[in-house]
């Protein structure tokens, strides 16, 4: 227990007496069950407060560890219920020796008890997985009132050491931590490496070797455009240099050796293929000597032959199912399909590397270059291309060759070469590589109705955002456009066609549309917004004080060119002035030019740069976006002659 700052203020004798009485009736730990004794600075803006969390990891051998957890958490509301973490996973190699929980009301009186048999036992299959052999016991508790406090104990015996629990004393947004302790006792005789990150600025003391304690960490509120929570909050991770993964011994001095182990032990023996498919692929690729061209053929072959199905059994969480099996059944998970593609490429003499990575579109997360351990949640394939790499997503049946924008772009990944592992960065798409170019011709009649034909070409990240339109049914496609162009009331979609050029990675949409009364009529004037098809109206949220630095994780570029035509009965009364805004966050410009007495051209260009910025710059970024929102709705005025 840290010294309680409130106690130190009791200076006069009567208060001291009071203090002693307190001590007698409430031991220090008992204080932790009482919600009203949480210091004010920890209970401000929280869903939950971790009162006390103690993780002890006792490693007795390279393949054995005992993890003991004690956790006391006070929960303030329904969202906080999700932070209970009163569960334990188990399978062949993980045994739950003890699991129990106690619930206390807001004054710290025990109101409920849960023994092992009271926990719900369920399969731990996650969405998208056909089958997994791992299971979970979790607490299913309906709170009677808030706040309440939950005490949870678990003791898990691991016969595998590949995943040593990490320590994150500050767990998530809107959650404060009063006390959190973590200790590893390593009696295995095997060297343990560890890494502490982001400890500076947080109240963490070192109690001994591999023994830390954090106290009184106030909650952090979420703010838009914040970097990943884990990237600025404390974390401690550890790994054995010789470990056991589901009965298989692994080596992990560094990424090079860890990669070599993966290659030799997990991958090498899974790449055998039947003669027939080898011959088939050889025949298909015989016409060219270009390895990239050959790889394209193989990628297409795999896309046509397979689909994504995930089955996780035993070491199958890390070892791919054999290429032979994928070839036979025509499905596999990311590991199986990547490995199958690699095996095929190997047979025709094209080098490629199995690659471990964190997949995710919203969360861009790196494999830690400086700390080798079991990391990552996804596997892709890396194809060396002179000084650079081409990255292949093998779980998609439709993805163009080499496109990774959106799910695995711009992050550190572990590539497994036969000689060992290496951490490299995947492709980051520059704004001009994630381009959306919209061209339109718009015809107005004298009452403000319009007919238009629009062409949208997208590449890179913007390609990946839009190409799914193609496979939807017509009703849904129309609805997509009506939502995308929600700024046009009475919108009617008259026809849609697509061209998906997977070689150039360019998606072209052609849309014919019409809308009644687009221009609003006031007297003899028609008022209309020339930016019809690409309006940015959202402005990042305002915070009276911004606490966190911010980042724009992907850049992109939009170009728009619309020609607007009017009947001779109308003439232009007023046009908005051209605008150019140039900031470190990006640039925005638009102009309207008269092409003819009843024809104008609207041009717009908006580039958003990727970048990380200090919190003090957030208001500037908002200002930039406010200006864009303002200028995107700039109007022009026509009037009847």
């Amino acid at each position: 227990m840290p010294p309680n700052p409130f106690r130190m203020t009791f200076k006069t004798l009567p208060y001291y007496l009071l203090f002693f009485i307190c001590l007698l009736s409430y031991s220090q730990t008992q204080d932790l069950y009482n919600a009203s004794l949480i210091p004010d600075e920890l209970s401000d803006k929280v869903n939950s407060v971790v009162r006390y969390h103690d993780t002890k990891i006792d490693i007795s051998a390279y393949n054995r560890m005992l993890v003991t957890e004690k956790r006391i958490i006070t929960v303030y509301n329904k969202i906080g219920d999700r932070n209970l973490r009163a569960f334990a996973g188990y399978d062949d190699k993980r045994t739950i020796k003890k699991i129990e929980a106690f619930v206390y009301d807001k004054s710290g009186n025990q109101i409920k008890k849960f023994k092992k048999g009271d926990f719900v036992d369920e399969s731990a299959v996650s969405g998208g997985t056909l089958y997994s052999d791992s299971r979970v016991k979790y607490l299913n508790y309906t709170p009677i009132s808030y706040p309440y406090t939950l005490e949870f104990y678990a003791e898990i015996d691991y016969q595998t050491t590949a995943f040593i629990p990490t320590w994150q004393p500050l767990e998530k947004y809107y959650n404060a931590t009063q006390n959190s302790e973590y200790q590893i006792i390593n009696n295995s005789g095997v060297e343990l490496k560890s890494k502490a990150s982001n400890f500076e600025g947080f109240n963490i003391e070192t109690k001994g070797p591999l023994h830390y304690k954090a106290s009184n960490m106030p909650a952090i509120a979420y703010e838009e455009y914040s970097p990943d929570f884990d990237s600025f909050t404390p974390e401690f991770k550890a790994a054995l240099i010789e470990f056991d993964m589901e009965g298989v011994k692994g080596i992990n001095n560094n990424w090079q050796e860890f990669g070599k182990w993966m290659n030799d032990v997990l991958i090498a023996d899974t790449q055998k293929l039947p003669e027939s498919v080898i011959n088939e692929v050889k025949a298909l690729t015989a016409y060219t000597n270009d390895p990239i061209e050959k790889a394209k053929i193989v990628y297409q072959f795999v896309q046509d032959k397979t689909r994504y199905i995930s089955v996780q059994v035993g070491i199958g969480g890390w070892k791919p199912i054999s290429a032979m099996e994928v070839n036979q059944v025509g499905y596999g998970d990311c590991k199986g399909l990547t490995n199958y593609t690699q095996a095929l490429l190997k047979e025709i003499g094209v080098e490629s590397y199995y690659t471990v990575i964190y997949g995710g579109s919203g969360r861009i997360y790196d494999i830690d270059k400086d700390f080798s351990s079991t990391q990552g949640n996804h596997v892709i394939l890396c194809l060396p291309n002179e000084d650079d790499y081409i990255w292949l997503e093998c779980t998609s049946q439709t993805n163009p060759f080499g496109l990774i924008a959106g799910f695995t772009d711009d992050r550190a990944a572990l590539i497994i070469k036969p000689e060992g592992g290496e951490v490299v960065r995947t492709k980051a798409y520059k704004p001009y590589e994630s381009l959306q170019h919209t061209k339109a011709t718009v015809l107005f009649d004298e009452s403000g109705n319009l007919e238009a034909s629009v062409e949208i070409k997208s590449t890179g990240y913007q390609y990946s955002l839009r190409e799914a339109y193609e496979t939807k049914d017509v009703k849904e496609q129309n609805l997509n456009y009506k939502n995308y162009w929600g700024n046009i009331n009475n919108l009617q979609i008259d026809g849609v066609s697509f061209k998906n050029d997977k070689d150039e990675i360019e998606f072209v949409e052609n849309v014919n549309l019409s809308a009644k009364n687009y221009a609003s009529k006031t007297g003899n004037r028609l008022l209309l917004q020339p930016n019809l098809f690409n309006v940015v109206s959202t402005i990042p949220a305002r915070y009276s004080t911004r606490y966190l630095d911010f980042q724009i994780s992907r850049g992109y570029e939009d170009q728009d060119e619309y020609v607007l035509e009017f009947p001779d009965t109308l003439e232009i009364e007023a046009l908005p002035e051209p605008v150019l805004i140039d900031t470190k966050f990006g640039t925005y410009e638009f102009s309207i030019e008269t092409l003819d007495k009843n024809k104008v051209q609207y041009k717009r260009k908006y580039i958003l740069n990727k970048g990380s910025y200090a919190k003090e710059e957030y208001e500037d970024f908002r200002e930039f976006r406010k200006l864009i929102a303002k200028h995107d709705k700039a109007k022009m005025v026509l009037k009847t002659k």
């Binding site: 803006k45 509301n77 719900v120 036992d121 369920e122 399969s123 299959v125 056909l130 089958y131 309906t142 709170p143 009677i144 009132s145 046509d304 032959k305 689909r307 199905i309 089955v311 036979q328 059944v329 025509g330 499905y331 049946q397 439709t398 496979t471 049914d473 017509v474 009703k475 129309n478 609805l479 009506k482 939502n483 929600g486 700024n487 009331n489 009475n490 919108l491 009617q492 009364n517 609003s520 006031t522 007297g523 004037r525 008022l527 109206s537 402005i539 949220a541 305002r542 915070y543 009276s544 009364e573 007023a574 908005p576 406010k626 929102a629 303002k630 700039a634 109007k635 022009m636 005025v637």
Partner: protein
Amino acid sequence: MKSIILTLLLVFNLTLTAQNFKYGKVSDVEVIEKAHPLEPNANAAVLYKSEKIYFVYTSDGFNQMREVHERIKIYNKEGFDWATKRIVLYRGGGGSNEILKKVQGETYNIEGGKISKDKLTKQAIFEEDVNDFIRVSTFTMPNIKEGTVIEYAYTIESPFLAIDDVILQYEVPINQLEVAIATPEYYRYNKTFNPKAQFYPVIKESQENKSATLVSSSGPTTSINAPKNASRNYSQSQGTYIDYRIEINETNIPALKDEELISSLDNYRAKLGMELTAIQQSGGGFKTFSTTWEKVCENIYQAPSFGEQIKRSNFYSSDIEPIVGSISDPFTKAFILQNFVRSKVKWNGLYGFTSPKGIRNAYKEGAGNIADINLLLISMLQSSNVNAYPVLVSTRNHGVPLFPTQNGFNYVICMVETDEGYALFDASENFTSFNVLPPRAINWQGRVLKPDGSSHWVNLIPNKPSIQSTSLNVTLNDDFSAEGVVRKRYTDYLAFDYRNKYAFSSDDDHITKLESGNGSIEISELNFENAKDVTKPVDVSYKYELQDAVENIGDNVYLQPMLFTAMKESPFKSDTRLYPIDFTYPVSEKYIINIMLPEGYEVEILPQSEALTFKDEACIFKYISKVNGKYLQLNISLDINTTVIGTTDYTEFKAFFEKIVEKQNEQVVLKKV
């Protein structure tokens, strides 16, 4: 001539092979087909589905068998999911579980002009216990490509009498459907069809004599979910009995299409329900469960987990006496006890109209299902001499109870009746109140059960509109920014929604959410009254500043007078509608807007006052504008008096909303004096 005959023969031959639905007889034509002939956009199609349900007599009594055989065509990659099958098996405890048997499957592809076949292997079939009640068996077929035909068959052997719904419609078309159900005369089932479905099958009914060595039992079997062989004495005899048969033979059942703004696609799926209504007793005669609404309700009321529960009062009487003892008004009592129950027993997320462990247990544990909570409320009210009755409800995602079945209901609420009228209560959630139920429970009508055994329907759809009224004061500054005060009031369901959204938010978060999507607005001095007091409407007020409120183009100033309170776009975008739109409750929105004009400007053009109506004033929109010296005043309202918009009225309704958006976004033109 020869070639014509050959062609004819070929066509004839093709037609023949395409019609062979015997297991394993997949034809070239089926594998070659590129698109569905009737629904060319279909990603897959069920070429054939057969489901046979029958009972076989064994030494344990009758066992239910369900034989399923499906042949599915996969046209493209979006259809690949149809190659994975998930079969749910119920576990009854005590070893009486459903068992999956005789699983077989094959994948058919064309390779090098010939049909190739891949078998589903045993290793590719996974079984797992999802929880204590359900085991799931999953398999996915090998070698799926665009064009693949798969075929699989399996049998579920069940010790239970309850028959699962027979699904008659999928999200892809079914070309040929055969259903055959045979039930022995000892068990009577009532068949029901989904009234909201757009497809109805033709049913053929018949009887068939069967013979078996029968065991007659001397103990009654009354529970539907208990295995029928539980603790009885048997005597054997060779006997005959009658099977009641139901057959469905249909072709070309259209795909079930999804649509936005519906509660659950399942509500519109064609399906056949078989509810057990009676079991023959050992002494002859039937124990009936449900045949008429009166009978259904009587049975429910008599169930120990329902009517009996309401009668218990000793465990709480001393707790409620101090809080309602001195109160005489029944509605006030109901109000107080609703709050009391809410504070004592929390909803565990489960529906149900019966209390599985008893309301006393729920009261002690502090948590329970819907029945625990609302039966407790009813019980407390009855024991306080209030006329309170249970109302059985089918929730919005559970379809409409058109046929007299117990399965038609899944929820119960409370009704309080006096000479002046009645009110509905539900204590399972925060912020419900007098006639404000959780929206899930507002589905057509509910069945009121009276202690004397009688029952009748009560309308659940609120008559009274929920009101949102807004007063917006605007001062236009010289720099064309605007500032002022907004006052909003929400009643009934709109108050319920608002409280659920914001009652537990900090002011900062509340402001951030109010600002979101409203351009360069800054909100301050937020005041949120009656956030938790459900006896009063929600009152919210705040100050705002809005940059770029108006546009200055040339010599004129253009202004959309509703500012950020206008509807920005119509929520109804689809050209057509497959299913009705259900607003759940009537709504009335009112806006009073007062704009002080900037110095040196006057109104040149004002949007005209106008009224729009939809369908004999089922919905009314009014827009009244006037200039009053330095002030521009608007009075705008939208009343949605109906809760359901039918599909035939949709086009008109969509146009009505588009006109509202158009009108709300009309501009006022100001000019310099």
